[in-house]
Symmetry: C2
Subunit: 685 residues, 2 copies
């Protein structure tokens, strides 16, 4: 059977060769790296790497770059904060923000930064708790055990310690991740929108590129900049073509281990429909932005986010439409099936998880749209309803023992939930009215006019009337009220007649039903099956397999390298010269005034953006690109258009990571923004 | 081989049983009809039916319902006219329009009505002209011959006679259709928008339904109402459940004879992407409408059209995603392939058209987006550019001999082209700016920032700048200027520096290239292949097959009947009572004031809408639903949601035609609108 087994080794993806893989630091492909690059990091290097990298809890990566707590990340990772800090008087979005000194650094509302301190394998403990269970019992037991582990870990330190059980290999391995939690994060530098998102949506996921997608945050503790031992100095020399570069970041989610039936669900029942909704919302936001400068400013963050999501999902959808991709997946699945089938013991041990997962897909298809609309929140796009739902659900969940709660309300999650709820974020009634009206109309459209829940939701009113009731009537914009309701718990929330709370109660009831059905009939089946598949894969290949992304720390190795597109070589670097050539007088190709006036001071040959073969995905934004010495040679902010299929597979020939070159970071701070104090802190001069 | 042949008979769709089929009047399934309903129409009946039915050249059906030229059609078929006739002073869209007498009937700008007078088989002539040719040569020869046939037919009477060569059976059969052409069409009655589109987009394609989607036009000739001999009187008694009812209408397009590879192209490369564009445009229009009542009025027609298209294409896309549908198609294809393969003579005669068609799909996929954006006009949504393109292309084409022109500029088409160009339609600069800016941005997005054509199109400008140049700078809103440029031909158009003309020249060049590639590498191959497939099907089954829809006259037979949805029976009729129960105070469920005040005068049991098993598709809107006596018992305006898969297959269990019951038509004219003169003309009292 050696021939077949070899075939399996080749066919069962994901299989680590070359730059493929988002590796956990405790299971790096050290042999491959040594062989390919002569690089063999020791434990100290790895510990330093782990602690130099940070995670922005909202969904990005970053790294410490000074001993006084400066964090380098992307402009697009802090744009929400920049917008929250802006007002009609101070348009930091379009004018940029440079704190002249530490006193001028401004706190980002609700922002949380995590630094990983340690990881522990808790697989055995979780598997013990779920042994022999299935369906709801399996789910409940697993979640209870995970919450228990997290609570034990955080203890009474949950304000400064964050503990997450991370399900690796689609649940095949469970690790406890222990983070330092920082909730006082201040903005030190953000370029103007025209510089930080030069090229806008048209250039997004494209290369050649000319984008200063960078920002600097500073982490505070007890009112002072945090002192950090582990940080990555920025080396403006960068890395040469072909040189080893590594990303350290938090890729959000990949689906490389899904079965063929799960991929078909994504292709036929999820991605296109989600994309259509996103496109419609985009149109709405585009025209809202057309109405005036203030409206454009208000809608900017959501618009960028929805456009980014559209490009990303489009790439994923297109990847799944390619018949050869699905065929590769099918071949790999059949090979693993054959390996299991060829041996009685294997059949006994691994069973037929594919059949169980396949059967759950019908329910998934039926549930998907209801789930994303009601439980996923797409149907209730409203700050008031968001707060109200946190209050209503939070009150009910906090009344339960920790292990029985919905996971996002586990004790260990409370600080982040509370911080999000009580963040001082502005409310724009006109904008809220628009997006809530629209999203309620989508609930009616997707569920149908005659759906019992829709009748309850709207009664004899229109979506607009219901939205008006919330936007005009709710008092939840008052942070003190939110705080008192949160502190008051179930009693206070139950007594509230705030229209947003009243509606949230109705929604919560319906959403919980759908979630329950999803978790019991789909999620539990898929997770159970994934555990079995993971076990089979481990038996066949050991840990030469990397886990799907889970928004936890990963290292990807690669080299600076261009690629070939339609027969043309795309070189790996761009320069400032290209920026000035591409510029027009109009967004999104307009130069910020600072760049217009700095032109004579800049060396036009300065490297600006670059591509490398690292394997990344959304969530990696803000990752440092470091060399073997642990120096920052780039700041990851994007993948090329061909990287979007990376959700499902990695193709080293064309999949590229896009980063800001370290030379551009220095030149920008020095010459364009004259941010001398930051420059001094980072570059020592 | 009898067994296989029988299997083929069952498997090769479309196959006529029960209500399936959109039949040409010269090839009705008379045996089936006689057997099923005891109805056996004679030649006189058929001639009467042909001449009582009319086509609205813009894309709808209708029928003469009085001897003085009244045409019954849908409200949604005349909404464009109603909007064009409206102004800030007269909001006929929302208030409805009732001409108090014939003098008050208002001409619909650019509207053309066609009445079929005869059809002739010209297959042999076209096939002779194309014998032995392929690719461009095949296309050119076919189009030249078709144009020649049309020109010979219309002669110098093209102002009153329209001659179209219709390609039936995907090109397997060519018929010459000779129509009377009426270009003076006036609006006699249209209900308020809230009545004519009650339930709006949420209820569209749904049933139970409560919608007065009707209007009355009057056809004029030489300034007087045309006298017609063949018309269908309206019988308010309607038809009973289970009774034979027939539609006579102009279904636009079905794809029931496509190969599996063509269907896959629709599913993977066309429908989802087109739907995403439509969704985004919908969002844009929704927010434009939110800006005020006037904006809502301006955007209304486009919004309804885009929403209707979204529902229709969604149904089509969903139909193709169902694995069993594709499997049925695959089985049918394999059966026909097997029938051809089993005999040497057949192999010789029919070849392997599937392989040719399959090979053309790659090009189709590559071309599709460029084609719809540049040649299909989605990238240039602008009245000015539309006029300019007609002028630029029209001038170039008219300079050529008739047979060498693009088909839509053939001599026979000229009156309609000219009427469209010179119609007095209002221009709303703000609206034009919005949609042109957006669509130019989509060109940039779909083709890419660095596409040579995009660089030419935008230069260093933004889409908005380019749009402004057109909307603010073009003088083509002046109908006199358009007329002089049209009359002046190539010389006048070439000399023009109107910015819309200048841009249209650039677009025309690029669009022609893409069209040429499509026609040569895709269309010619597909048509050639379809001819061979049609020949094989005819050989196997004779004319028991009906052709795909081609926006030419078809009869569909069926019966009044409900269906079962998720185990619940849906009854075939609704009543006025249901309307009042469904009404709310808000659009799209708001009652028009006339219906509020008429309530006490109406019999609540009056039948309002109904469903029947007829096989229809978009383009059938406005078709009369007639009984065996040739009386109108309903006015077709929609299909149920399950009818949307009808583009690809007919499922009699669930596919239903939705119509306004004739009793509701009478009650509305009599009691709600007190349109006494129309009531008298239609019902004689």
């Amino acid at each position: 059977m050696r021939t077949l087994s070899l075939a399996v080794m080749m066919a069962v993806s994901p299989f680590a060769f070359a730059a493929e893989g988002m590796w956990t630091l405790d299971n790096l492909p050290l042999d491959t790296m040594k062989q390919a690059y002569g690089f063999d990091p020791n434990a100290k290097w790895l510990d330093h790497a782990m602690k130099g990298a940070v995670r922005l809890a909202g969904g990005c990566s970053g790294s410490f770059v000074s001993k006084e707590g400066l964090v380098l990340t992307n402009h697009h990772c802090v744009i929400g904060c920049v917008q929250d800090l802006s007002s009609k008087q101070h348009d930091y979005v379009n004018n940029g923000f440079i704190a002249g000194n530490r006193g001028e650094e401004k706190q980002c509302p609700g922002m949380e930064i995590n630094r990983l301190e340690s990881t522990t394998d808790v697989t055995e403990r979780v598997q013990k708790a779920t042994a022999g269970l299935s369906g709801k019992a399996y789910n409940d037991a697993k979640k209870a055990e995970q919450s228990k582990i997290e609570a034990e870990c955080a203890g009474k330190q949950s304000a400064t310690l964050r503990c997450d059980v991370v399900e690796l290999y689609q649940g095949g391995v469970q690790h406890l991740y222990k983070y330092s939690r920082f909730q006082d994060v201040r903005l030190a530098f953000a370029p103007e929108y025209d510089a930080g998102f030069f090229g806008g949506d048209p250039d997004n996921f494209n290369f050649p590129r000319y984008n200063l997608d960078m920002s600097l945050l500073r982490v505070y503790q007890d009112g002072k900049p945090v002192k950090v031992k582990n940080f990555f100095p920025i080396n403006p020399a960068g890395a040469a073509e072909g040189e080893l570069v590594m990303t350290l970041g938090h890729p959000g989610s990949t689906q490389r281990l899904l079965t063929v039936s799960q991929l078909e669900t994504q292709r036929d029942a999820m991605l296109p429909w989600r994309l259509m909704l996103a496109h419609e919302f985009r149109g709405l936001l585009l025209q809202y932005s057309n109405q005036g400068e203030e409206q454009a400013r208000i809608a900017q963050t959501d618009l960028v986010s929805v456009e980014n999501g559209i490009k990303a999902r489009t790439g994923m959808f297109q990847a799944l439409l390619a018949p050869e991709v699905m065929q590769d997946k099918r071949d790999a699945e059949n090979a693993l099936k054959a390996w299991v089938a060829e041996d009685e013991q294997r059949r006994q041990r691994y069973g037929n998880p594919w059949a169980d997962i396949d059967a759950a897909q019908k329910t998934m298809r039926d549930l998907y749209m209801d789930y994303v609309m009601l439980e996923g929140g797409l149907g209730f796009q409203s700050q008031h309803l968001g707060w109200a739902e946190t209050l209503v659900r939070g009150a009910a969940e906090r009344a339960k023992p920790d292990g029985e709660r919905l996971r996002e309300f586990a004790e260990a999650r409370m600080p982040a939930v509370r911080a999000g709820l009580l963040a001082e974020t502005p409310v724009y009634p006109d904008y809220e009215l628009m997006r809530l009206t629209w999203s309620l109309a989508k609930v009616r459209e997707k569920l149908g006019v005659d759906h019992p829940f829709v009748r309850q939701l709207l009664g004899k009113d229109s979506p607009e009337q219901v939205a008006k009731r919330i936007v005009e009537g709710s008092q939840l914009g008052d942070v003190k009220l939110r705080e008192s309701l949160w502190e008051g718990g179930a009693k206070a929330v139950d007594a509230s007649s705030d229209p947003a709370i009243v509606l949230a109660r109705l929604i919560d009831q319906q959403a919980r039903q759908i979630r329950q059905r999803y978790e019991t009939e789909v999620e539990a089946v898929e997770k159970r099956g994934a555990e079995q598949l993971a076990a089979a894969r481990f038996a066949l290949k050991g840990t030469s397999v990397y886990p799907d992304a889970t928004f936890s720390l990963r290292l990807s190795h690669g080299v600076i390298r261009g690629w070939e597109e339609k027969g043309e070589a795309v070189p790996p670097f761009t320069t400032f010269e290209g920026l000035y050539a591409r510029a027009t007088d109009f967004d999104p190709f307009k130069l910020a005034p600072s760049w217009v006036s700095a032109k004579s001071k800049l060396d036009m040959n300065t490297k600006f953006n670059q591509v490398s073969t690292n394997d990344i995905i959304g969530g990696n934004s803000g990752s440092p690109l470091i060399n073997a010495k642990g120096e920052v040679v780039g700041l990851v902010f994007d993948g090329n258009i061909r990287s979007l299929g990376g959700a499902y597979f990695f193709d080293e020939a064309v999949n590229r990571t896009v980063s800001v070159h370290s030379a551009a970071i220095q030149a920008a701070l020095d010459k364009v923004y004259a941010a001398k104090h930051l420059s001094k802190e980072l570059f020592g001069k």
